[in-house]
């Protein structure tokens, strides 16, 4: 297979849909559950991760022939940490409120296994362009996953969407949705929905034989 034949769209959609980091691979759960209290937080986290993912995968891919196999993880981490630091300062400069809301989870992008996984599994074996396209797909997929959680949790937990009040003044917030258990419940509900959808698309019956014990 030579470089010109890459199916770029497929490569991109791989991360958005078939290998979605949140809903299919269930990776990077720490930020997924912790910062998705509101849709804005979720999008910011997603975009920050997307940026780090694309840049570091591109650099890892460029350096793939120079990197000795024995120290490759250390090299990846240094590359990722560089971009994370840049994102960290950028967010701090753009909006301090957002920076406080995301807390330590921006720095923790360094150890997000989606990024290290992409670097190890894809970027280290492919030329820069396909590696970056694949990484961009993963990043977009991750952002969509975070947004799906953030929207539900913000609507139920605060009655707002992107900060705009949806129900007027008398809304009763569901306190549990802003708490960690709410994150688990919403994630579980989305996983359920997506697996049901995937089964339907594959033509499998949604109904399984009831277990008899």
């Amino acid at each position: 297979m030579n470089a010109a034949q890459y199916k770029t769209w497929d490569e991109f959609m791989e991360g958005v849909w078939r290998q979605n980091p949140v809903f299919v691979m269930v990776l990077g759960m720490c930020p997924t559950l912790a910062v998705t209290v509101s849709a804005i937080n979720a999008i910011s986290m997603g975009v920050a991760t997307l940026f780090v993912l694309v840049c570091s995968c591109g650099l890892v891919s460029l350096m793939r022939k120079l990197t000795p196999k024995e120290v490759r993880i250390a090299v990846y981490i240094v590359i990722i940490a560089t971009f994370v630091t840049a994102v960290d300062y950028a967010i701090q400069a753009i909006s301090l409120a957002l920076y406080d809301a995301l807390g330590a989870f921006i720095q923790l992008i360094v150890v997000n296994c989606i990024i290290l996984g992409r670097a190890e599994a894809h970027a280290a074996k492919n030329p820069p362009l396909p590696a970056m396209i694949n990484a961009a797909g993963m990043g977009v997929g991750f952002t969509i996953g975070l947004l799906a959680l953030g929207v539900v949790r913000e609507i139920l937990g605060a009655g707002t969407l992107f900060g705009v009040a949806l129900f007027g003044a008398g809304f009763q917030p569901w306190v549990i949705m802003v708490l960690p258990p709410g994150g688990f419940f919403v994630l579980g509900a989305w996983l359920l929905l997506f697996s049901w959808w995937a089964r339907r698309k594959a033509g499998l019956p949604a109904k399984e034989a009831t277990p008899h014990v």
Partner: protein, 382 residues
């Protein structure tokens, strides 16, 4: 019947006429007087709450049974029990839409996700209540006094809150009835936050209408006694729960009577009686071994008193039962009865011999051939 096929199955062969449906139906019967008295105490708000919560439980159950996600049938009455119990644990003026959320979560999260009746790890009604307790902490702590005048003609204002909206505060409504806002506090909340201990007749009846006691404890004990006498419920669990709670409370009371309330107050306030008789005895979530039942009940009683005394919450029965539910597989494992002839430490008794006399082995077994292991050929790769 003579054309019925011969069925070969392993032990136990003793059959009982008790089916799941009979047991559940009798539990529902025994709950009806309690619900009736509850409605008499709190009026149409309580009636609406019971009807809506039970209805939503049944609808959710129907959905999951229809889509094949969970075992069981709608007619086995288990969803009715969940609904009635859930409604009895909620405040009478609980907004109906929150009650509906609780009922849906109880069946969907507490039961259907585990596979339906008999598969659930936690008591479904308590799962629903724990969810709304975490989601709407203010509404679930807002009680109104029982035996209010005009309770059969007018709703408690918070009952009819619009979906997703904050329910009305009952303070102004109670003032119009010449009652102060504190009249609505439960006995436990009064004790926890104001240091007032209710006296016995107030706890048992609350006929003066100044106390928000939940469903009547005496009636629950009576109905529980009916269930236990008909063997639809094991008497060990409620006895262990109440005994251990009373013992813990009594020890603390004897230690420092000024600081800790008397054991009678601990037993008859809040939901301890309801929890002990109806929630802890849920067959799917409690141990089956007799010794395990004692351990399980004692754990609930102890945890309840500990949570009530030493946590920020006034009531602890719900979390105590949920924790004990989670522990019940472990309790079952360590309380397995020892088969006859075995020593305590799981080895054969000294000098006891069990000769493998061929006479003991049935002919089929003696000539049985162990089937050889068959290896499936590897699947052809596509």
């Amino acid at each position: 019947m003579n054309s019925a096929p011969i069925e070969i199955r392993s032990a136990p062969h003793v059959q009982s006429t008790k089916t799941v449906e009979t047991i559940m139906r009798n539990v529902v019967y025994s709950l009806l007087p309690i619900c009736a008295f509850y409605v008499f105490q709190y009026g149409i708000s309580a009636l609406a709450s019971i009807a809506v919560v039970t209805g939503i439980c049944l609808l959710t159950e129907r959905f999951f049974v229809r889509t094949g996600t969970q075992a069981g049938r709608l007619s086995d009455y288990s969803a009715v029990i969940t609904g009635l119990l859930l409604a009895l644990t909620l405040p009478p003026g609980f907004p109906l839409w929150m009650g509906a959320v609780a009922g849906m979560v109880a069946i969907a999260l507490g039961k259907a996700l585990f596979g339906g009746i008999g598969f659930n790890v936690f008591n479904p009604a308590l799962v629903g209540r724990a969810f709304v307790q975490a989601a709407f902490p203010t509404a679930i702590a807002t009680y109104t006094p029982s035996f209010l005048p005009g309770r059969f003609t007018e709703f408690i204002p918070s009952t009819l809150a619009w979906p997703l909206m904050i329910p009305a505060e009952p303070t102004a409504w109670l003032k119009a009835k010449n009652l102060d806002a504190l009249a609505g506090a439960t006995p436990l909340a009064k004790w926890k936050f104001d240091g007032v201990i209710a006296n016995a007749d107030e706890l048992l009846t609350s006929l003066s209408g100044h106390m928000a006691v939940g469903p009547s404890p005496m009636l629950i004990l009576l109905c529980g006694a009916y269930l236990a006498s008909r063997r639809y419920m094991d008497w060990r669990i409620p006895l262990a729960v109440l005994g251990s709670a009373a013992l813990t409370a009594w020890l603390l009371f004897a230690f420092d009577p000024a600081r800790y309330p008397n054991p009678f107050f601990m037993l008859f306030s809040g939901g301890l009686i309801l929890g002990a008789v109806y929630m802890a005895t849920d067959m799917a979530t409690s141990p089956v071994t007799p010794k395990g039942m004692w351990v399980y009940g004692a754990l609930i009683g102890l945890l309840t008193v500990v949570i009530r005394y030493y946590s920020g919450l006034p009531e602890g029965v719900m979390y105590a039962i949920l924790i004990a539910n989670a522990a019940s597989p472990l309790i079952e494992k360590v309380t397995q009865p020892i088969p006859f002839g075995r020593g305590v430490l799981d080895r054969a008794k000294k000098r006891a011999t069990y000769p493998l006399n061929p006479g003991y082995i049935s002919r089929e077994e003696a000539s049985a051939v162990t089937p050889k292991k068959r290896f499936l050929p590897n699947k052809p790769k596509k």
